[in-house]
Symmetry: C2
Subunit: 445 residues, 2 copies
């Protein structure tokens, strides 16, 4: 624990910030979200503050089950691997965590892209493995609706096995570049993987050499049972949503047990709960900032949001009445965590309007609002108590909250010795204290 330090990941899905209606904020960017400069500045500020990584969420669809989604929600953004590849060229130390779907890509293609990003960035890539739970996503890839939950996670597990074999398929020592003899490679160290499984048949080898990090760091987000099983086996970073230190500690303990079952040590998985940091001169100013944000959500959008969470159109039911019967979570094919959350609120007797207003709020992660000192205190408490190895910073409004945090909170955390003051040398794995995985073909010899 001596050298343990907080890991800081700066997150976004909407480039205007994590609040659903952040784009309406006076400080939010306009069309510059489709150019590189905006992100170059964000990345620069993060690197200046010695943050560990930028984390880009992703969906392979527009959210448009309801017309209000298109009208009011900022549905468009750049593809994250393209954006992070560009940012790799203009940054030098920060980690680049990209979300990519294991349900709607091919292992050979995705393994190549991550391997290439890892080479280009000098070993700074990480892959947030998601399984894409939206109907809208399924319909962009030949299907009529979402694929069954367990099937998606089964495919993701096979995808990871396949990708790892591909990353290993050209051993570190395979490429000789021996101009004199004419031997470019040692054929004994270049492997066909000959993977044949339920979901994939891939011969290999990959045509990119093993990434500097061996594999990109494997990240998993979210906490359904299937997701935890996948994470306990493969993930090295888990993005979690815990509402309190107590919950965070329970979550950690649960994962520690799972890791041990998988023959892994607890320190091989870093858990980073999402938090919404809002820097303000005082607690009341922070409160005003939140209230203002909440005022930005059109009521119809809020109801439609709940409808899409529960897979049932609630807009025809009286807004001040109770929630009608909802699907069974055991067989629900969307994001089960969300369905369960709405059911809990309904069970407390909340009306549709009340639930909609609750759901539309800044997010499901805890808000840490206040002065830099207050925010640092709270983060320190989570960290010291073992509820977090660091944080996934889900800034409500960009670029403001990101800039405020890097300018005001990061130095405070540095003064306390909780976060790094300088980047350590080496790859992202080296910097985070994560081991470089052994090559399965070398180990098998």
């Amino acid at each position: 624990m001596a050298n343990r330090r907080m890991i800081m990941s700066a997150f976004f899905f909407n480039p205007q910030g994590d609040h659903r209606m952040s784009w309406r904020h006076p400080g939010a960017p306009g069309k510059e979200i489709f150019g590189l400069d905006y992100f170059r500045r964000l990345a620069g500020a993060a690197e200046e503050a010695k943050m560990d990584a930028i984390f880009l969420a992703d969906h392979v669809a527009i959210w448009d089950s309801y017309e209000s989604n298109i009208a009011h929600y900022a549905n468009t953004r750049l593809e994250p691997l393209t954006l992070l590849s560009a940012l790799a060229a203009v940054t030098s130390n920060i980690g680049l965590i990209s979300t990519a779907s294991a349900s709607y890509t091919e292992p050979y293609n995705l393994a190549r892209t991550f391997a290439s990003l890892d080479h280009i960035s000098g070993g700074r890539s990480a892959w947030n493995v998601v399984t894409s739970g939206m109907n809208e996503e399924a319909m962009n890839f030949g299907r009529d609706g979402n694929i069954e939950h367990a099937y998606r996670y089964e495919r993701a597990a096979e995808f990871l096995e396949t990708a790892k074999a591909l990353w290993d398929s050209i051993e570190e020592e395979a490429l000789l570049f021996d101009k004199r003899s004419g031997f470019f490679a040692d054929p004994a160290r270049v492997h066909r993987i000959n993977h044949v499984g339920k979901h994939f048949k891939v011969r290999g080898p990959l045509n990119v050499p093993r990434p500097p990090q061996g594999y990109p760091i494997i990240v998993q987000a979210g906490s359904s049972e299937d997701g935890k099983v996948l994470a306990a086996k493969h993930a090295e970073i888990n993005f979690s949503l815990s509402r309190s230190i107590e919950e965070g500690k329970k979550y950690r303990a649960d994962f520690d047990a799972r890791l041990i079952t998988n023959g892994r040590t607890p320190d091989s998985l870093k858990i980073l709960p999402g938090i919404l940091p809002i820097v303000a001169a005082s607690a009341s100013e922070a409160e005003e900032k939140r209230d203002f944000l909440e005022s930005l959500t059109p009521p119809r959008l809020a109801v439609d949001l709940v409808s899409s969470w529960v897979g049932k159109d609630l807009s025809s039911f009286p807004a001040d009445g109770p929630v009608p019967e909802l699907p069974d979570e055991g067989t629900f094919n969307g994001q089960r965590t969300n369905l369960i959350r709405v059911k809990a609120m309904a069970a407390q007797g909340m009306t549709i309007r009340q639930i909609a207003s609750q759901v539309a709020k800044a997010g499901t992660a805890p808000v840490m609002a206040g002065t830099p000192k207050q925010i640092a205190d709270e983060m320190e408490a989570w960290f010291i108590e073992g509820a977090a190895d660091g944080f996934n910073l889900m800034f409500p409004v960009l670029p403001g909250d990101w800039q405020d945090f890097t300018r005001d909170v990061a130095p405070e955390l540095q003064r306390r010795g909780l976060v790094q003051r300088e980047y350590a040398p080496g790859t992202l794995r080296d910097k985070l204290g994560l081991q470089r995985p052994a090559n399965m073909f070398v180990s098998a010899r």
Copy 2:
């Protein structure tokens, strides 16, 4: 014709150069081909010389039908879209042409990536649409061997229709960013494409707004009949292989007729023949450079290369004997042009060894070797006679031949007023005089 100028595209597949054994050349790079700096310098030199574009070829496999391929051939490289995204961040005018397979990717994913690259680069992206003819490629994507030729091109055509609809799905005027009213977008200008075809079912809309260029510039390379049909319908640049001015003019005339049949004007397709420029102080020095390169190919590799071109292992036949019976080109599933070329040599009575040595030579494109003035003369003749709208520069050895050309030949062409001295403003389409395509949803209104 008044403002007609030569288009210059700087090509590579192997980052060591287009000669198959370029990696063995004393001036060829080593492991730096997996980092960004090497390519940043190449791109910088090209931009300095006001070249129009960098063109990256690609295959989704290692070439390893024969063990000698792995041993002697430089089989590994970065994935081009990742590399070009990174280069987009450190260049500002040069076009970025990436090869991508229509056989082994999904329209939604690829359309997003190209749209994102087009935004990030300020409208400098182009897509070289290929159908991936190697068995090695098929086996990385669930198949036992290559997909039938016509089927691949049929899929590619449907892929392009789908991608274009996706690129159009968010109209230029759709995004309002109206913070006051809360309307992010005008739902009437955001479209589901509802594509249902033989190969794809894609609902859309894309979650990236229409690219600055409307579509990336569509590029097609190669000249099978199926390929020409696709190009005549969709392509705006064609990379060709013509061995003489005469052949180039015939090729142009053939395409002009095809374009007119498709309701297109001849100037909507730029034809760029590949050439291998070798700058030397004299013709004899150029000859020496070529001979040296040819001495680098191990004989076994040369025979295996022919075997893979014709889909039959020739290594067990006497090297000084005739070529055995070869597959029928009408049903051949590999690159037919290559099979036909070998058959022609066999028909002339060449032995396996002779054909192997011929095939192993620098390439199938004409070598233009000599002083800068001699090379410029030859390029000028092709251009003036209407055999080329510009050239695809396939440098035998990198970085040397690329640097020599940009330093010595480009200024000579500039002095003659044949190529640009400065970049024109705007997107790559603007710079090349290619029209921005109309949006099909706007046109349909």
